[in-house]
């Protein structure tokens, strides 16, 4: 499998997951391209590098000589590249850019924008040098779940506007890659109602569009801090300050004003949140996709964190391949 598309509801951390997945695929000497499609420069922020130009740049080195390159696709630049590649129109393209014509063309045909983005992804996935693929894997930080099917299903999107001609042929070629077994669309979710709902919706839409759904990645999963035997009782509100008092007295904390009640209130909230998360875990399992959980990081995400997450994904990918 060479093309990993990562989507998820806004706020679920899909950029972080995409970056960690790229690192894990680069372990043991892999060459991986991490692609940004939304012009947010989120990858540059994660890897703490200056904003990425429209150019494949190395952002991280993985163990065993592996490397992750990153590319932020610029739609205008991709259009110029496209004109140059297919029509030998590089200079004309620049003139068009000045006229604002490219902006216009991608605006009148919204599908055209996606064709350019996905066309570039397809090019990277299928690029070969000396008979070998240049990249072992391409990871796409894709648009959110609400737009993902439309983004990948380009032929359908341009069909009203371009019924024939090169754009149509181009988008058919893109679809062939996305629908092939070398592609998997992974959905990132949190154990919260709306992300889980959107994950289910996205999987249904992708399936209907005959696009290959990969794993569901539960991000920011937490462990319960209370003993398992006390969670239900606590969530029901049957924990009182008096239950904690002896232990607080022993720790010489009994004198702090309002402490026991505060701790109880927080414990109850924690237990309730845990129970509702666990119920959602069942809903996620019911989606029937391979599942992996990534832990919530208590500190801001840095490269070290990304490597930790990558290790988790590495284990998951191995079991996936073995299965």
């Amino acid at each position: 499998m060479r093309c990993h598309v990562v989507t998820g509801k806004g706020g679920t951390g899909k950029t972080t997951v995409a970056a960690a997945l790229a690192l894990s695929l680069a372990a043991d000497g892999g060459h991986v391209l991490l692609v940004e499609t939304e012009g947010r420069q989120g990858i540059a922020q994660l890897f703490d590098t200056p904003p990425l130009p429209y150019e494949e740049r190395r952002v991280a080195v993985a163990r065993g000589g592996g490397e992750v390159k990153a590319l932020a696709i610029d739609v205008e630049a991709a259009f110029l590249e496209y004109l140059d590649m297919f029509y030998n129109l590089k200079r004309a393209g620049r003139a068009l850019r000045k006229m604002g014509a490219i902006d216009f063309a991608t605006a009148i045909a919204p599908g055209l924008r996606d064709v350019l983005l996905t066309g570039k992804i397809k090019e990277a996935v299928t690029r070969r040098e000396n008979g070998r693929p240049v990249y072992d894997a391409v990871v796409v930080d894709a648009p959110p779940t609400g737009r993902i099917t439309r983004f990948l299903n380009v032929t359908n999107e341009v069909s009203g506007l371009a019924r024939s001609g090169p754009i149509r042929a181009q988008s058919d070629g893109v679809m062939a890659v996305f629908r092939s077994p070398q592609t998997a669309v992974h959905v990132v979710t949190l154990l919260e109602d709306m992300p889980v709902q959107e994950t289910a919706d996205a999987i249904a839409e992708l399936t209907a569009a005959r696009l290959p759904v990969g794993s569901v990645i539960v991000n920011m999963a937490t462990e319960p801090l209370l003993p398992a035997s006390s969670i239900a009782r606590t969530a029901e509100g049957r924990l009182t300050g008096a239950d904690l008092q002896p232990a607080l007295t022993a720790a010489q904390l009994a004198g702090i004003d309002g402490l026991a009640d505060g701790l109880v209130a927080e414990a109850v909230e924690h237990a309730r949140r845990w129970i509702s998360q666990d119920a959602l875990r069942g809903d996620v399992e019911a989606l029937g996709r391979p599942l992996v959980e990534l832990p919530l990081s208590s500190s801001p995400i840095d490269l070290g964190c990304l490597f930790e997450l990558a290790d988790r994904l590495d284990g998951h990918l191995r079991t996936e391949v073995a299965a």
């Binding site: 029509y87 003139a95 605006a107 506007l161 720790a251 505060g262 927080e266």
Partner: protein
């Protein structure tokens, strides 16, 4: 030797008085904006409910709300027309609607042309693409709908939940972009040959443009230019209208009576986006009410720091005895809460350092999703209640209390 300067601390932002804002009869429009996934829709609905309970006739325009929120408002079929939400006991009225951008576009076309011409436009493939997926159509149509709602005078308060754009700024730019597009040189040029009757038009538009139109034909297929041309001539009389209405709505947003509420979550990305928005509003001279910092995690007590709570948890667990595991767990829960709250407070302080004039109201995360009127009421209380009126002594504009100045 000069005296040591006391360390500079972020000054607390002025309180955000949303209770006064929603009950003030002079407030006619509230626009909630912010990046995706921060709870804009819920905030809009909670403010709308609070306004109805303050006796206002309010309509909330939401963009693609969570299904369960729509359902809980009693609106299984939330659609492009405002519908009354049952709010027992409220002196005012709450209406809710969900923007359907294609329907709104169709309605505008139908309202400004004859039925025959409208049909020609509806059948045009270019129109179909434009009305359903043009980047910016949703933002533009949200503005169009806002203009209609405000003009009808049926409601004395309109609350708008802005579309989940890639950037929160798209909402402000949309009217301009759309009218620039429909009224723009490029579209005129593209259709100029048809309008001017062939050759005369060609002479007018010049060589650069011919190249462009050749490329467009080549790439997208020749029929696209024909479709655009047919569309433009069918819609010709409406162009001015689009621009005028978009400008009028834009101007409306700058009038007294409009307030923007920026919504963010205590995450770096969301606050960065909020920061851009605040700067942009001030550049455009648009009235900002303040920032709602949603989904914060204030601890129930701040008497024990994270470090001390961790230490105590260890001590309690080591000492053992009945209830020690539970107590140690509770202390760890507290340590985590303090860590999270400290980080959230630091992010909020950074925002305030950059925008000291912007009032902030923090809103604690609900234990689950808000999906009924009761949940909205709870959120409304957190949004509207008085600054100092909390059980924990932490003012509502903060996640943690202000520490006393050292020395």
């Amino acid at each position: 030797m000069t005296a040591a300067q006391p360390p500079r601390r972020p000054t607390p932002a002025p309180p955000l008085d949303l209770a006064a804002l929603v009950s003030d009869r002079e407030t006619r429009i509230i626009v909630c904006c912010g990046s995706g996934g921060v709870g804009k829709t819920t905030t809009s609905a909670a403010l709308a409910l609070a306004a109805a309970e303050a006796g206002r006739e309010v309509v909330v325009l939401t963009i693609d709300p969570a299904r369960r929120l729509a359902q809980s408002l009693g609106l299984v079929e939330l659609d492009n027309e405002p519908r009354l939400v049952e709010t027992p006991g409220a002196p005012g009225e709450l209406h809710a609607m969900m923007l359907d951008m294609k329907r709104t576009f169709d309605d505008v076309v139908a309202a400004h042309s004859t039925p025959e011409r409208a049909q020609v436009i509806f059948d045009n493939p270019f129109y179909q693409a434009l009305s359903s997926s043009f980047a910016g159509t949703q933002e533009y149509m949200a503005m169009e709908k806002l203009g209609q709602l405000r003009a009808s005078d049926r409601w004395d308060l309109v609350i708008v939940d802005t579309p989940p754009s890639r950037s929160a700024l798209d909402f402000l730019d949309a009217p301009n972009r759309m009218s620039r597009f429909l009224d723009g040189t490029m579209i005129r040029l593209l259709t100029a040959p048809a309008r001017a009757g062939g050759r005369a038009g060609v002479r007018f538009v010049g060589a650069g443009f011919l190249l462009f139109s050749r490329i467009i034909s080549k790439i997208l297929g020749g029929q696209l230019l024909n479709d655009i041309s047919a569309f433009v001539s069918a819609l010709d009389t409406m162009f001015g209208g689009f621009r005028e209405r978009a400008n009028a709505t834009y101007e409306l947003l700058r009038q007294p009576g409009t307030s923007f509420v920026v919504v963010a979550a205590p995450e770096p990305d969301a606050l960065r986006e909020a920061s851009y928005f605040v700067d942009r509003l001030s550049t455009e001279g648009m009235p900002l009410a303040g920032l709602v910092l949603n989904r914060t995690h204030p601890p129930a007590t701040t008497a024990l720091s994270a470090t001390r709570a961790e230490g105590a948890a260890e001590a309690v667990a080591e000492a053992g005895g009945p209830g020690s595991k539970l107590a140690a767990g509770a202390l760890r829960v507290h340590a985590e809460r303090m860590t999270v709250a400290t980080r959230e407070q630091r992010l909020a302080d950074r925002f305030t350092s950059a925008h000291p004039e912007v009032p902030v109201r923090t809103v604690p995360a609900a234990a689950g999703d808000v999906h009924d009127l009761d949940g909205l009421r709870v959120m409304g209380e957190a949004l509207l209640a008085e600054e100092g009126d909390t059980g924990t002594g932490t003012p509502r504009s903060r996640v943690l209390p202000i520490r006393p100045q050292a020395g």
